[in-house]
């Protein structure tokens, strides 16, 4: 009936094929000569009008009108098709012919009797005669040939696929058949053969992907029209992949309802992802990531990230490694991604159970397409701009010396006297030590004033990053494959921050038998990241006084005595420290599907994931860090005979840390699904399944001293004891570090069911339920049934008969869903949990009492006797529409999430022996709307302009809170959860100008509005707004002119407020020579500039201020840092990227013997509009992180 047409290499296929065709035709002609088909006419007239009736009924009617009898086997007639017939006074012969035209059997008339028989071989041959062989070519709207297009004959199972020059051949096609051309991402095209033997078909790409036919939830692939839950999807091709950005960064502003915040401009650091706002007061608010149906586990065991409300990460050593290890999808090559879908409401996520409370991001990877081998190679090179002093608005040497001069002239008071550098050092030598003359002093000061050391130039670079990716895919009708290999080398702007990695991926999908299909994926990746240990170049460059020199005049490194009175040079520190992280991961997944009877399927999905993380960091003996921490004297200061050497606990060698982690996890999912269509109107689908997950983390971490990097990476032995003043002391460093083993096992098992019912494609009803259990320690032992359930309705209005599809409104549907879940926080238990000390704690608390040898146990968590389930309910309303003949596609949704009895962390008095306790207390409402639309204002053959826009607003309101701490510190940090205020609402001190007499900031601490300052700090504070933006919007605009296209992406956030980075240290200490200041301070109050609105320099003599309602005194400069004067709007409009690409013309590509060749260039973060108070800094990282800089990328893409 149909032929597979794939081009075998090296075989002159065409001739052989034609020869075979000729042979067959000859045979047929011979048979045709003996064929007899006839029917006599009996002159009877029939009038009949029926629609969609059984054949038997027609027979009865003809018999009534003509008197002819019918003889047939009832069994045979069961195969009969229904008949549509409209006869007016026709002969019985004609009537019968019409009746049987569409039937699988034939008839014979004998003596007024109609005998019905099975259609014989002759009849079949006769039909063959009207069959032809059709060959054709498929092209796109630009005239380019399209390989991999599925071609099928309407109404007949089976298909073929166009080859790599876009052509196909179908044999045995009925002359009147209709050919159907389909492909993912392309419009479905139907063409009538009409006897033509050669057809050229144009298959256009889809007007918009919002018209997406199906949505993958990770468990199921649902038609968009029957998807009740709230989702949004983006194709990888719509994202700008410059080879540097992480997947999360690419997604910023692309998915409606997903807010992504960058916390640092460093390469490879994690981003904060929130789906529809924050819905938990404790615990992780990150969504879960799912790749091809498999939930991804983090490479390192869970540890709550210390991300303060101000967005500042306070890292410990393992956080530092974690940041560069990446998240659970770091192993995935972005080029292998096909599309990304976010599941937002309960109806969409319920099937994932409790874990999905923060939303689910589902990634589907590319699969092979049936068709010839397709080879794709892409390469990109990127570079970043360096951060420089212009952007940071910091003082130059001259300005900094002036500031020091003011300190000296005014005689401001400092507590410490570590001033042998900078202007203060010169003054010290001149006036107190009297080691230099006035001339020498003046010369030294003028040298300082002109030093202007450019720390950014010394510590940063303009790096070149490379990214190569090769993929090979293809397949036959039954089996397809996709494999890729990628290499990535990313260099950060900070010298020494590099990342290099390989990814490999291979997937095969095979229809082994008609009922059994199997797909398997195997991927592996390796990544090495070099970063910093104990040094932060950005922090140093942006804070350090520019009067210091990095090099001496002879080119050697210039050392100075730092605040710890140890000899310091940043370049020396960088050269002698290191932090290397290697991540090796391997994933395997196998997915088997078996169709027992039509509609009833079983699926089994097994995956195994192994990640090995190896982090090591070191500092050699030449670093200031080792001198300060262990040795207590500068490198090389003492010889072995010196007393200082003998007194040192670590006279030789540095520090070496290792942190190894292995994660092995598997998951196995088995499900049975059944779907059935009744009466062509009722569609039922049901799925039940069971899922087991197990993940085990093992790890080893240790610190070893005495490391000699430059001497064969050997280790020196620590002295057993130290000698000072004739007293010998056992060296406690020999026992200070204890190895730590991690062994965590998490098992979970879940049962789930989901079902849907669709009536006539118009009404869709859907419900899901899931229950999970785990091996978590300290859970409610008597409660196991903890289901998550959700359901929803959808009404596809456009499918109603009365709906008049018009030009301006072509599609319309509404949906509503509801979900409910109960959750128990994993960190709280109703019982007292105790643990063995040592694991995860400091070395000082051993496993046994070092004095008595008795076993020790320590408190892990206090019991919370009143522990209740957290309850969350959510509701979603959605509207999808398309206007102007599908030119504008849009959707609108409104949601409301209500959380009750939420577990929140309560800061409790230290008198309880703990600082915080998790309790059920909060109630929170999240409401919001999301609008997304895409439209194509202009679409011509040569010019195309498409726009996609999305907007979301989230209103987060706290309805009730449990008891909470109410101090001004909580209020300014946004932690004061006042009923009616949003979650991150914060307060500030009322700035009342600068005291012209002293230069100190004035804070208005008067209490207002009758509030009692004893219980409510807001009595003397002012409400400023919220820290999170309440309105975010993404805009993408794409233009295409002929083969040239331009893509752009913008991100807008409105409504957030932030504190600016402090001008002066909160501790009110006198500025010292180790720090630089913002140029804003230039206009500060001074005894000669008393009218300034910027406070003067602080010093330790400034009296503290009594906080109203308390007995506590606080520093006025700290209050100033949290005052209304320091609050700015964080609203910003940023262009995330602009890029152009050009596809080479058909002629040229043919000459180059490739299918497609594409070159492009782009720029990331080209510009942003935000409050001028940020002075060019990125508001997302304004509180101190390394800003993101512009990145330029060139890329080349070749398809063979």
């Amino acid at each position: 009936m149909y032929k597979i047409y794939t081009k075998p290499f090296g075989v002159p296929h065409g001739y052989a094929h034609k020869f075979l065709l000729i042979m067959r035709l000859t045979t047929l002609l011979i048979i045709a000569t003996i064929m007899q088909v006839s029917a006599s006419s009996y002159g009877q007239r029939i009038t009949l009008k029926e629609k969609n009736v059984p054949l038997e009924k027609v027979f009865k009617e003809i018999r009534r009108q003509s008197g002819y009898d019918f003889v047939f086997d009832r069994k045979l007639l069961m195969n009969a098709n229904t008949v549509d017939i409209d006869l007016k006074n026709v002969s019985i012969n004609d009537a019968l012919q019409l009746c049987f035209s569409n039937q699988p059997f034939t008839y014979k008339v004998e003596e007024k009797t109609v005998i019905i028989k099975e259609r014989g071989i002759i009849e079949k041959i006769k039909r063959y005669f009207s069959s032809i062989t059709v060959a054709g070519t498929v092209i796109d709207e630009n005239g380019k040939v399209l390989p991999g297009i599925t071609v099928s004959i309407k109404g007949i199972p089976g298909n073929t696929v166009t080859n790599n020059v876009g052509s196909f051949i179908l044999a045995d096609v009925d002359e009147d058949a209709v050919l159907v051309f389909t492909a993912v991402g392309r419009e479905k095209v139907e063409v009538k053969v009409g006897g033509r033997k050669n057809i050229t078909v144009t298959v256009g790409s889809k007007a918009s992907d919002l018209q997406e036919v199906s949505v993958s939830t990770g468990y199921q692939i649902l038609k968009k029209s029957s998807m009740v839950g709230a989702t949004s999807t983006v194709k990888m091709s719509e994202l700008y992949n410059n080879g540097i950005s992480s997947i999360e960064q690419m997604l910023q502003g692309k998915l409606t309802g997903v807010a992504i915040t960058n916390t640092s401009g460093l390469v490879g650091t994690r981003q904060r992802v929130r789906v529809r706002g924050t819905s938990t007061l404790s615990g992780s608010a990150e969504p879960i990531w799912v790749v091809d149906g498999i939930i991804q586990e983090d490479p390192l065991p869970f540890k709550a990230q210390q991300l303060s409300t101000l967005g500042v990460i306070t890292p410990d050593n393992s956080d530092y490694i974690r940041n560069f290890v990446g998240n659970s999808i770091a192993w995935l090559n972005p080029n292998d991604i096909n599309e990304i879908t976010v599941l937002k409401d309960a109806a969409a996520t319920a099937i994932y159970g409790i874990r999905a409370a923060n939303g689910v991001i589902v990634i589907t990877t590319k699969r092979g397409q049936a068709g010839p081998v397709s080879i794709n190679y892409s390469v990109s090179a990127s570079t970043n701009e360096r951060v420089n002093y212009d952007k940071l608005n910091l003082m130059n040497s001259k300005e900094r010396v002036d500031l020091s001069r003011e300190i000296f002239n005014r005689g401001l008071v400092s507590t410490d006297a570590k001033t042998n550098i900078g202007y203060a050092g010169a003054v010290n030598d001149y006036l107190y030590n009297k080691t230099i003359t006035a001339d020498q002093f003046n010369a030294r000061v003028s040298a300082l004033e002109t030093a202007n050391t450019d720390w950014f130039d010394i510590l940063f670079r303009v790096p070149i990053s490379m990214n190569h990716n090769l993929s090979v895919s293809g397949g036959s009708n039954n089996t397809s494959y996709y494999s890729s290999f990628g290499y990535n080398s990313t260099k950060g702007t900070a010298i020494g921050n590099d990342s290099k990695g390989f990814t490999g991926n291979m997937s095969v999908t095979s229809q082994i038998t008609k009922k059994f299909s199997l797909s398997a994926r195997l991927s592996a990746s390796q990544k090495t990241t070099d970063a910093f240990y104990q040094v932060d170049p950005y922090n140093y460059a942006s804070k350090m006084n520019r009067t210091l020199n990095a090099y001496n005049s002879d080119g050697s490194l210039s050392f100075y005595n730092n605040i710890n009175s140890k000899s310091y040079n940043i370049i020396n520190e960088l050269n002698n420290t290191g932090n290397m992280n290697k991540v090796l991961s391997a994933n395997a997944a196998i997915d088997a599907n078996y169709e027992i009877i039509p509609g009833l399927k079983v699926q089994s999905l097994f995956s195994y994931n192994s990640i090995s993380t190896n982090g090591e960091s070191y500092a050699t003996e030449q670093t200031e860090y080792v001198a300060r921490t262990y040795r207590f004297y500068d490198y090389g200061l003492y010889k072995v005979t010196d007393a200082g050497y003998k007194a040192s606990k670590l006279p030789v060698g540095g520090e070496y840390n290792i942190d190894q982690n292995h994660s092995n996890s598997w998951s196995w999912r088995n499900s049975i699904s059944y779907s059935k269509v009744f009466n062509q109107k009722h569609v039922m689908a049901l799925m039940v399944g069971q899922e087991s997950n197990s993940s085990r983390y093992t790890g080893y971490a240790n610190t070893t001293l005495g490391y000699l990097r430059d001497r064969g990476k050997a280790f020196a032995t620590l002295p057993a004891s130290t000698l000072a003043y004739g007293t010998t002391t056992v060296n406690d460093l020999t026992t200070k570090f204890v190895p730590k083993i991690t062994d965590r096992l998490t098992n979970t098992m879940g049962l789930y069911a989901t079902g849907s019912y669709t009536y006539d494609s118009r009404y869709v009803f859907n419900a899901s339920v899931r229950n999970d259990r785990s091996n978590r320690f300290g859970q409610f032992t008597n409660e196991s049934f903890n289901p998550v359930y959700a359901g929803g309705l959808k009404w596809n209005i456009a499918n109603e008969k009365w709906f008049q599809s018009s030009y301006w409104l072509s599609n319309l549907s509404v949906s509503g869903s509801f979900g409910y879940q109960r959750n128990i926080s994993s960190e709280v238990s109703p019982e007292l949990i105790i643990k063995t000390p040592g694991a995860g704690s400091t070395a000082t608390s051993g496993v046994v009492d070092s004095n008595t040898g008795e076993t020790l146990l320590t408190i892990s968590s206090l019991p919370y006797g009143d522990l209740r389930w957290e309850q969350n309910s959510s509701m979603n309303l959605g509207l999808d529409f398309s206007l102007f003949n599908n030119k504008v596609q849009g959707s609108l949704s409104y949601y409301s999430k209500k959380g009750r009895d939420l577990i929140s962390s309560l800061n409790v008095p230290v008198e309880y022996g703990i600082t915080s306790m998790l309790v059920n207390g909060g109630s929170m409402n999240n409401t919001g709307y999301e609008v997304s639309a895409s439209f194509v204002p202009v679409r011509t053959r040569n010019f195309n302009w498409s726009v996609s826009i999305n907007t979301s607003q989230n209103n987060n309101k706290i309805i009730a809170t449990g008891a909470q701490l109410r101090t001004w510190r909580v209020a300014v940090a946004g932690g004061l959860n006042n009923p009616g205020d949003p979650v991150s609402g914060f307060y500030a001190f009322k700035f009342d100008g600068v005291d012209p007499a002293t230069g100190y900031p004035k804070i208005d601490l008067s209490t207002t509005n009758g509030k009692n300052p004893v219980t409510d700090p807001t009595a003397y504070l002012q409400y400023m707004g919220k820290m999170d933006p309440d309105f975010t919007s993404g805009l993408g605009m794409n233009f295409r002119y002929k083969m040239l296209s331009l893509q752009s992406s913008f991100y807008l956030q409105v409504g957030g407020k932030k504190f600016l980075a402090p001008l002066y240290d909160s501790s009110q200490k006198l500025p010292n020579e180790y720090e630089n200041f913002s140029r804003n301070v230039l206009n500060r109050w001074t005894p000669t500039n008393t009218s300034s609105s910027i406070p003067g320099l602080p010093d330790t003599s400034i009296p503290n201020v009594l906080v109203p309602g308390t007995t506590n005194y606080e520093k006025i400069y700290e209050m100033y840092n949290y005052s209304t004067d320091r609050v700015v709007s964080a609203s910003s409009l940023r262009c995330n990227n602009i890029n152009v690409s050009y596809s080479l013309g058909k002629e040229l590509t043919r000459k180059l013997r490739c299918k497609n060749l594409n070159v492009g260039a782009g720029v990331s973060n080209p510009f942003a509009f935000n409050s001028k108070d940020f002075e060019g800094l990125d508001p997302e990282v304004a509180t101190g992180g390394q800003p993101r800089t512009r990145a330029y990328t060139l890329n080349l893409n070749i398809s063979l």
Partner: protein
């Protein structure tokens, strides 16, 4: 595969999965357990209720036992770095700055014990609250209860003597004067905690200690000096009554001291530390020393005190033992002679040498000692009893009390003096006031720089302290803590106020 077979296989698979379910979902944790036996709670008590390795209070900078040497200048004219850091870390306390424990100050290690003691009190409360939930014999549980009650009382006595005014101080009304918040259960509640009165705290300590003594007496004999038995509880009661200092308390202080001394009265003879002409200091808490009742902590506790840095040769350390304390000791014929007088001068301090040998810091816990650094010693009980007798002598003029006091003091001194060649000469004093003064000095000589006794004694006896501080710039300033100063009640560290709106700072 036909349908039937498939169903059978699936069924078998499902069975296997469901059968192993229980094992698969069995609770697992690397290191966590639920306490089920009294042994578990005992292990918890050793780590979380006993002081074990916690850092201890060091308020010696507030006393007259230390002096300030100021910054040490190198030949280049810069300050010796680690000395400067140490000087700054002790500055606020040494200058009696009322803001000494605010965020703007460097708070030396050991001066922020408020949180640390309450952390241990939590441990006591958790163990006691969970005794009813675990299995174990009544005797075991009572032994645990007795130890926890003792420890809680011990910590509260520490807290109230640091952060409260002296109970019997001049002008102090224990009914209204601020004590510390009393937390007597592991239950964490909403809202702030307010400070109980001095009386309420002392009353609670007394009740707990009396009960602890009974329970320990009946149920527990400590296997080592690292655990508490009834004698230690009696010793703390003796200390408690002496510290409370009501007129009715002297008899009780004498009574409880005598109870201990009835079972354990031996003192360590410092003479025995001589090995030929060499004096090998072993510290006072070596567990084989006969006078140790209970010991805790370790030697690093004193080694890590921020204001006592590692010595740099040729420079004066920023803080060292004051002349007034140094001069209290009878040096006999001098170092290296056959009669060195009071050996405590030798045994209780380390020295620094810079144009002469000076006392630097305490050496009561020897570095590298694997035994405790602090604790209860028999010596203190002789001193407690002597002081109570002396106090009675002052009040009643009964000479028998005076003689009893002298007997105790002479007995103690005899064990401290060099008696290799010279016999100890007992002290004889008949004037009540003079005897009390001698009692005070002897207490200072014996208990100085050990467990904060001097600071409590200054408060109880209403003494004035004068300090002369030399800053980093070399300028000298004078600072006086007058008798009955509001700072007798040390300010509560600012960290305690962050989370407790109900807390009130001491007047300052």
């Amino acid at each position: 595969m036909n349908t039937k077979k498939f169903i059978i296989y699936s069924f078998l698979l499902l069975c296997t999965v469901l059968c192993s379910c229980k094992k698969f979902l069995a609770e697992y944790s690397q290191d966590e357990i639920r306490p089920t036996t009294s042994t578990d709670l005992a292990a918890l008590m050793y780590s979380d209720a006993y002081p074990y390795n916690m850092l201890f209070d060091t308020f010696d900078l507030l006393t007259d036992d230390l002096l300030c040497n100021g910054p040490a200048k190198t030949s280049q004219g810069t300050n010796v770095a680690n000395y400067e850091t140490a000087l700054l870390s002790g500055m606020a306390m040494f200058k009696f700055d009322p803001m000494m424990f605010e965020a703007s100050q460097i708070i030396p290690i050991g001066a922020d014990v408020y949180t640390a003691y309450y952390n241990k009190i939590k441990g006591c409360n958790v163990v006691m609250d969970n005794l009813v939930n675990v299995s174990g014999s009544e005797a075991d549980k009572n032994a645990i209860l007795g130890q926890c009650l003792f420890l809680r009382a011990f910590y509260y006595l520490k807290l109230v003597t640091i952060y409260g005014q002296p109970y019997s101080g001049v002008g102090v009304n224990p009914e209204t004067s601020l004590g510390v918040p009393l937390v007597l259960s592991s239950q964490v509640k909403d809202g702030g905690l307010s400070r109980s009165s001095l009386k309420a705290v002392y009353d609670q300590i007394e009740v707990d200690l009396l009960k602890a003594t009974d329970l320990l007496n009946a149920n527990f004999v400590p296997p080592t000096t690292f655990r508490i038995g009834a004698p230690t509880a009696n010793a703390l009661l003796s200390r408690f009554y002496l510290f409370r200092g009501l007129n009715s308390d002297w008899d009780k202080a004498i009574d409880y001291a005598s109870r201990v001394l009835a079972v354990k009265s031996t003192l360590t003879q410092l003479n025995t530390f001589f090995n030929g002409a060499n004096f090998a200091n072993q510290g006072v808490y070596l567990s084989s020393n006969p006078e140790v009742l209970w010991t805790y902590g370790n030697s690093t506790t004193t080694a890590t005190i921020g204001y006592f840095p590692t010595l740099s040769i040729g420079y004066n350390p920023p803080y060292a033992v004051s002349a007034s304390l140094t001069n209290l000791y009878d040096r006999g014929n001098g170092a290296g002679t056959t009669y060195e007088g009071d050996l405590r001068y030798k045994a209780y301090f380390t020295v620094y040498i810079n144009g002469g040998s000076f006392l630097y810091r305490p050496a009561k816990a020897v570095p590298n000692a694997t035994y405790g650094g602090k604790g209860f010693r028999v010596a203190e009980l002789y001193l407690n009893r002597a002081e109570a007798y002396a106090k009675r002598f002052v009040q009643t003029g009964n000479l028998a009390d005076g003689n009893a006091a002298l007997a105790d003091l002479n007995y103690l001194r005899q064990s401290r003096f060099d008696t290799r060649t010279t016999a100890y000469k007992p002290v004889i004093i008949t004037d009540a006031a003079e005897l009390f003064k001698f009692c005070q000095d002897e207490r200072r000589r014996e208990l100085c720089l050990e467990d904060g006794d001097r600071w409590v004694d200054i408060k109880r006896w209403g003494l004035t302290v004068s300090h002369s501080f030399i800053g980093t710039d070399g300028t000298t300033t004078q600072h006086v803590l007058p008798a009955g100063s509001p700072l007798y009640a040390v300010p509560i560290p600012y960290t305690a106020f962050l989370n407790n709106p109900g807390l009130v700072q001491n007047p300052r």
